[in-house]
């Protein structure tokens, strides 16, 4: 009883096909072998592209031969903005481009005004909350 796999039995009338339980994926961060926080990701063994989150299929080449792989904790801040519409006051968000090909949207923390586009940033953990800050 598979969801998506390469030895698909779903076309036979007596087998079953389960959906991906993606709402029970668990935490979005884990730690690498050096104990550094990394975002949970998936790497395609066919084309090498990284994607954020747990995946079963490579959205670039379509391969199902993908494996869990933490995303690089370091990247570059493509763009950011201070959002004033949330319930808890101004909050900085941005897009971070990571080596391996993933672009991640998340909270960015900086002291004062020292954020700028294309800045090198790194992933940090604060309890359960992950965010990027300038290196």
């Amino acid at each position: 009883m598979n969801s998506i796999s390469s030895d698909q039995a779903s076309t036979r009338g007596e087998s079953t096909l389960l959906p991906v339980p993606d709402l029970a994926d668990g935490p979005e961060v884990s730690t690498d072998e050096n104990g550094r926080p990394v975002l949970v990701g998936t790497e395609c063994t066919e084309c090498g592209v990284s994607m954020a989150g747990r995946r079963q299929i490579c959205s670039s080449c379509g391969a199902v031969t993908v494996r869990p792989a933490g995303l690089s904790p370091d990247g570059h801040l493509y763009a950011f903005t201070i959002v004033h519409t949330g319930p808890n006051g101004p909050h900085v968000y941005g897009y971070v481009d990571l080596p391996g090909g993933a672009r991640v949207f998340g909270t960015v923390r900086a002291l004062g005004d020292d954020l700028r586009c294309d800045q090198a940033v790194t992933l940090q953990l604060d309890g359960d909350h992950w965010f990027f800050r300038p290196m």
Binding site: L23, V49, S50, M51, A52, G53, S59, S60, Y78, A79, F80, T81, I82, V83, H84, T85, G86, H91, Y93, G94, Y95, D97, L98, G101, A102, R103, F105, G106, T107, C117
Partner: protein, 380 residues
């Protein structure tokens, strides 16, 4: 493959209509559009109803009020491109000979959510991380200001133009003119975007009636020929995307121009997706009326207002007319119907013969935009 014509168009004023349901919004323009084309309920072959937040059977809830039932009714969501997607489906249905008369409704009631930003699908990874549409466009603006010679003042000039046009449009939600200073002084929403650089929360409905050549011939009032209809989803990109050169609009527009056998410089009037003022500058470029990186020069020169090279958003656009999500794509067609039939009144674009409409629908991870629909219309 036959042709398809818009023979009538109607819309409600856009604004905050808290006392109207989706049916309350949709019925008046439905009745008016059928009446002004001289088309009876019995002649309607199908209805396509664009809406994002209407819930189950929105089209039917509107049509049943006038006793219109039995026929195929298709409810269409493509976020902010839903209304234009409904037009595209109607266009194909008529051209293929499936129906002679198709009604397209675009409708939305955003005040059902109170105020604030559009609710986005909570299953989406970026939505869980806090993304909202103003943040997307704010980052687009930030990159545009970084990579081109544009300034924040240019973003304000777009809002000034939209309000100027809106003041001429009795259907617009925001009809008071403004100044760049006032726009820049309005409160920050997602920096660098200020409140007046963002479209308001709106309710409204718009309807067009699309017919075959045979039906058009028996209707004596002016009509509009649909010369092109293009629909695309965003290209999936897990990583880098150039936020100031969205390929979905560039590709959709290029195909629409090809389909119509025209070019961007042939357009007399354009209604484009100015949900946030940065969008207008970016879209000047990818719709081909400005060189890449130089869209801001058009707004500075007044090239896109009355008397300019091409009038962009004579209705006031999403910024001033309002943006009830599923209605906007149809409202753009309504405006172009009025423009191309010479019935736009005080905001008539002189000698308008050819026009383009453009909407995009965004809001999920991995796609710069979820959808885009581009149409080319011609006076007929």
């Amino acid at each position: 493959m036959g042709e398809a014509f818009i023979v009538s168009a109607a819309m409600t004023t856009f604004g905050k209509h808290r006392d109207s349901s989706y049916a309350g919004l949709g019925v008046p323009p439905l009745v008016e559009a059928l009446r002004s084309a001289g088309i009876s309920r019995q002649e309607v072959g199908a209805v396509y109803c664009g809406n994002a937040y209407g819930g189950m059977l929105t089209g039917q809830r509107i049509c049943k009020v006038i006793g219109l039932g039995g026929i195929p009714v298709v409810n269409v969501d493509n976020a902010c491109s839903g209304g234009a997607t409904a037009i595209s489906e109607a266009f194909h249905a008529v051209r293929e000979g499936r129906h002679d008369v198709v009604v397209v409704i675009g409708v939305e009631k955003l005040t059902q959510f109170g105020g604030g930003t559009l609710p986005l699908p909570p299953e989406d990874r970026e939505v869980r991380a806090g993304i909202v549409m103003p943040a997307v466009y704010a980052m687009r603006a930030q990159r545009y200001l970084l990579e081109t010679g544009a300034t924040l003042h240019d973003l304000a000039l777009v809002s000034v133009k939209s309000r100027q046009h809106g003041s001429l449009n009795p259907f617009a939600q925001m009809r008071t003119v403004t100044s760049a200073e006032e726009v820049l002084a309005s409160r920050p929403i997602a920096e660098p975007l200020r409140l007046m650089m963002c479209c308001p929360t709106s309710d409204g409905a718009a309807v067009v009636v699309i017919v075959s050549e045979a039906v058009r011939r028996r209707i004596s009032t002016p009509a509009v020929r649909i010369r092109a209809s293009v629909l695309h989803s965003g290209t999936v990109a897990e990583g880098y995307r150039n936020m100031i050169a969205p390929e979905i609009t560039r590709d959709s527009a290029r195909e629409a121009y090809e389909m119509a056998g025209v070019g961007p410089d042939d357009m007399d009037v354009i209604e484009l997706h100015d949900a946030f003022s940065i969008a207008e500058l970016v879209y000047y470029e990818v719709l081909g009326i400005a060189e890449a990186g130089y869209g801001f020069e058009l707004i500075r020169k007044g090239a896109t207002t009355f008397g300019g090279d091409v009038v962009v958003n004579p209705s006031g656009g999403l910024l001033a007319k309002g943006h009830p999500v599923g209605a906007s794509g149809v409202a753009q067609a309504v405006e172009l119907f009025w423009q191309l039939t010479g019935t736009a009144g005080r905001r008539q674009v002189e000698d308008a013969r050819l026009g383009l409409t453009h909407v995009t629908g965004g809001g999920i991870a991995g796609l710069d935009h979820g959808s885009c629909a581009v149409h080319v219309f011609e006076a007929a």
